[in-house]
Structures are given as C-alpha cells and as structure tokens.
Symmetry: C2
Subunit: 354 residues, 2 copies
Amino acid sequence: MKKHNFSAGPCILPQEVLKKAAAAVLNFNNDDLSLIEISHRSKAFVHVMETARSLVLELLDLEGKGYSVLFLQGGASLEFLMTPYNLLKVNGKAAYLDTGTWSAKSIKEAKMMGTVDVVASSKDKNYSYIPKDFEIPGDTDYFHCTSNNTIFGTQIKEFPKTDSLLVCDMSSDIFSRQLDFSQFDLIYAGAQKNMGPAGTTLVVVKDEILGKTGRTIPSMLDYQVHIGKDSMFNTPSVFAVYVSMLTLQWLKDLGGIAEIEKINEAKAELLYNEIDSNPLFEGVAATEDRSYMNATFTLTDDTLKDKFDAAWQAAGINGLNGHRSVGGYRASMYNAMPLESVQVLVDVMQNFNK
Amino acid sequence: MKKHNFSAGPCILPQEVLKKAAAAVLNFNNDDLSLIEISHRSKAFVHVMETARSLVLELLDLEGKGYSVLFLQGGASLEFLMTPYNLLKVNGKAAYLDTGTWSAKSIKEAKMMGTVDVVASSKDKNYSYIPKDFEIPGDTDYFHCTSNNTIFGTQIKEFPKTDSLLVCDMSSDIFSRQLDFSQFDLIYAGAQKNMGPAGTTLVVVKDEILGKTGRTIPSMLDYQVHIGKDSMFNTPSVFAVYVSMLTLQWLKDLGGIAEIEKINEAKAELLYNEIDSNPLFEGVAATEDRSYMNATFTLTDDTLKDKFDAAWQAAGINGLNGHRSVGGYRASMYNAMPLESVQVLVDVMQNFNK
C-alpha cells in the first residue's frame, strides 16, 4: 500500500515520475546505459538540461523576458551566500524580511558580506504571521524574502512593490500558485518540494541585474559564469535535474500552474475547514497568512496525542509531526499530493472527534 | 545488450548498484515510500549517511585517525574554493602543482583568495607528464595536487613529502589503488567516477587542521560547520549519497581497495600492452606517469579514424573519444569497468591491425 506522504521535504513526487526515474536508472532513452553513467555532455543529457530550463520559463510565463534558468547545487543554503555575492554592492546595503528559520539563515549569511537591514520580523510571535507594515529603504541594493515558511505554515500572499531588486526564496511553494513572476529579479528554490529530489537548486535570474556589484566573485558562486556555460560550468546533479524535468513535464501536462493552483486550493480548504470546525484542533498560523503548502495545527488537548498519532499512522499517513520549534502537527500538501490523501487525514480527524 | 562504457565521467557503475538504486526509487527499505520522497532526517536516511561515512573511513584505512567524512554538493569545483577558504591563512600562501585542466582551475580559484605559488607545471608539453623535481617552500599553508588527470591520462605515483598540509583532489582515482591515505590532510573527490552518480562530493579532512586561518567563512563553505552537523547542515543530495553508499559497500564486499587495485592493474596492463605493441596506436602520456584510470592514445595514421571509430562502435563500446584538448582516444577504466570490456577493446584494436 502506498502511503499518504505529508513529509515536509524531501517530499512526495508524482508516481509516474518515480516510475520513469527508476526506469532511467536502469536504461535511459533505450540506449542500454543508465542515466547516471552517461556523460553530462552527451546529447541525451544536454537535451534533458535544456528541456528542464525551457519548462521553467514556460511554466512561470517568463519566456522572452530576459531571464536565465540555472540548475545548480548546494540547495537554498548556498543561495543565501550567492545572493549577496552577486547582488550586494561593495559598501552597499540589502533589506531582508525575517519570516522564519530560513529567512534568519539567509540574513546571517548576507551579514557576512555587508550591511543588512532587517526591515521587519515576526520572531516576536514565533513566526506565526507575515509582517505587513514595513518600508524598504530606497538605497537598498535588493530586498529579500521567503515566500513560504514550511516550519511555521505561513505564506506571503502579496509581495511588496519596491524600486530595489526583488529576491525571493521560493523553495517550498514555487510552481504551486499563479503569481506575476516577472515582479521578481531573482528567484531560487531547492528542488526537493515541488520540483524534484534533493540535490539540485533552481535559480531564475534576470540577466540585466548581474555584474554590477564591483566584487570579485569565485567562479562557482557567480551566476554569470553558470549562465555563460548553459548551467553546465561543472558536472550538474544529473539525476536530480532529470527528475525535475520529469516533474515539470508532469505539471505542464496537467495544465500548468493555473490547474495545480486549483487543486492546491481545494486541498488547503478541505484541511483548514476541518482544523477550524473540529474542536479537537486549532491552527497555528494567523488565518490570513496560512500557507497552502504546509498547514500547522495542534491538539487542543495534548493528552490525546498518543491516541491521535496512532490513528493517523493506522490510516497509512506519514510525516505529520510538526517541526520541533513549533510542535504539534504539520501537513505538507505539495503539488504531487492528491486530494484523496488530504481527505484521508480529514476523515481521521473527524473520526477522532466522534 | 549492455554497452562497454568507457565514459570519462559520469561513468560506469556496478550493475548490482544500478539495480538496487532503481528499486529504491520505487520503494525504499520496503517502507512503501520512494528513497527520494522521504525526509533526510528520517532514521532510514540518517543510517544511509552514517553508513556511507563509515565505509569511506574503513576503505581508506583512516578509522580512529582524526578524520571526518562529509558528503557535500558542488563537485570538486566548489572544493577549489573551499580549500583556500578553510586552509589559506589571511596573508598566507599556498603551493599548487599544475598537472592539467583541473589543477589550473583550482589554482584560479585559490588566487582569488590569496597568494598562490605554482611550484611546477607540465603545461609546456600539454600536461603529458607529471613534474617531479620541485620544491615546496617551507612557509606555505598547504600544498595542493590533482592525483589523476582524466583529460591527459596521467597519474601521480608518489606524493611529495612536505611539512605543509597535503591536499589532494582525487576525483578520478579515489578508491582505485592502495595509498597511505593518512599522508593527506584533506582529500576531496566528485562522486561521479569511482563512487557514485554526479551530485555529491566526498570530503575527507583531518579535524585538527581546521579553524586556523583567521578568516570568516560562510556557513556552506565551512568544513567545521558541516562536520558539526554530521554532514547534514542542509539537505544533502539524497539519491547520490545513497548510490555512493551502495558502491562503497560493493567495493568492500569485493575485498576493498587491495582487491580492486589488482583488477585495475590487470585492465591497465592489458590495454597499455596493446597500445605499445600495436603499430597503429601510440600512447599520449609519459610512460612512467600513465594513469591506470584513463588511458590516452592516438592513431599513428589519422586517416584511419573513421574506420576505427566504426569498429569500436560496432563492438558496443561507448565513450572512447578523447577530450578536445588532447584529441585521439581515451579509455576510462574506473573501478566498475570489468576486465572483459577492456578485452573487447583490445580485440577491436588487434583485429583492426590485421
């Protein structure tokens, strides 16, 4: 029996993608070689890389708008460093919004490179909301935010208008909802939520913003170096890029972001309605800032924990425990999670109340 | 028909490893979840990471000798930067041996961080030999070399004795031959030759050498940060680490490095004997510096190229073309390549001469 996988990441991927990925590990392209034992310079893999890059631009509606797509390594954590290296001018200043653990980590790395202005933070209430009344100083090189906070279950619904560059870590909600992606100058995302397995990082960057800091940038940290080599400056994470391509193709075939957004809304509404109507549970995040990817909630009576844990585990549910810094439960409902799995969880919650 | 895969990397992996990897993508540990959709913090994956790290120490005979093992991302190319970040003191100096394309790239990155003394180079003869008469100045923080040069087919047989730290990029020959690995203070290697698929980088570092540069090191580039988090500071490249673990286990079961060294010697001798005895071919690299991983050779009569290419392709051989900077042919015979495949190539060469 396949489990209902609510894991926060690495997380559920489409079944058909997993099947194709497994087949490619044995015999890729019917060429009698495994995907993972061919040259990354082979025609077959270059085609994979180019297809993945094109699909990203197509799905985000950024074709012909001056953006480059890269599949790098090191996760969002390395992007925390690459962002200031590429965008923070010598003696310049960056503005950051602090909405959780990952924002805080990005701020820490940027501070090693120069001046950082934390324009607002929701740390005062354990990151349970998204700060809204803040100003971005006019003299900042860029403004950085985290679109979705997996640990706390919050999500930015509207992004600020600003004259400085807009940078967003979309690791945990990219490809999940319709946005005007052209409002961003730099988007990055670890693959392991809505895009593929851990091991590659998506970077979408507006070409014209690069090369203006006055810094010497090490090759591996320089977006222009990677762009100049079509995302193959060095050997990419072949398997992770291939599976990302499959997942992006799956999303396109499904109808793209417009279609998956409807499904994601239906899943989130189903679960949040249950959290709000069932007296045994309560939500953690501020209602207007609730994430459609990660729903955080707690039991109103903690003594029921063992019984509830046994109930959802018996139903084949996996990965529902909350992060240690929040406690309670976290249901991650990424793109590949079917509505049926959320229904199973809701049924467990309803039966538990009866 | 499975091909005879002489690809320079990503390259051949053991068939049984590929089968286990494909199975894990569908159902890992019989837990009804894919390897690539479970949390990297799950017990099952933490066990994979710890097993892989232990196997490295065991195979290199470095257990209990003060070394830490990391599985990072970014390939050797990111290590070119991490090495000086972690070992080059402020106002210090590093010594580098230039034996090919990858050495030159490592030198370029180190020069961005401080003073680099290139103690010797074989660039004068297109890197066809390993320089031997050079001195490492006493005041260098570390000496860096590349043990095997895939493009040119050379390999360092004896490493210099030095009082400074000894750093080696072993991307293309680690786990292939017996060495006193404790002579090295830092070893790194991209996985995609003898260890696994592209997407993870092995780092073996002596703990006591770290934290002495006086530099501020960004978190993702700081070996001590990764060591402190048991190689899980951020989400690792799960699939690549798992397949590396399988390959290391395969090597251990085979008898370890002592056993694979015999097989590698047999393969290399078989091919080099043919290159030296067949009048249609000649070797590229200096005889005493020939790599046991990558044999480079050319046709003595270039007009035979099309016919020879047709002959080896008809025999099911893949990836024999030389790198563009050398031309001719390159037969990569990494650990997973069976002697039988080398025999097929030698048969093609012998028949071609008849």
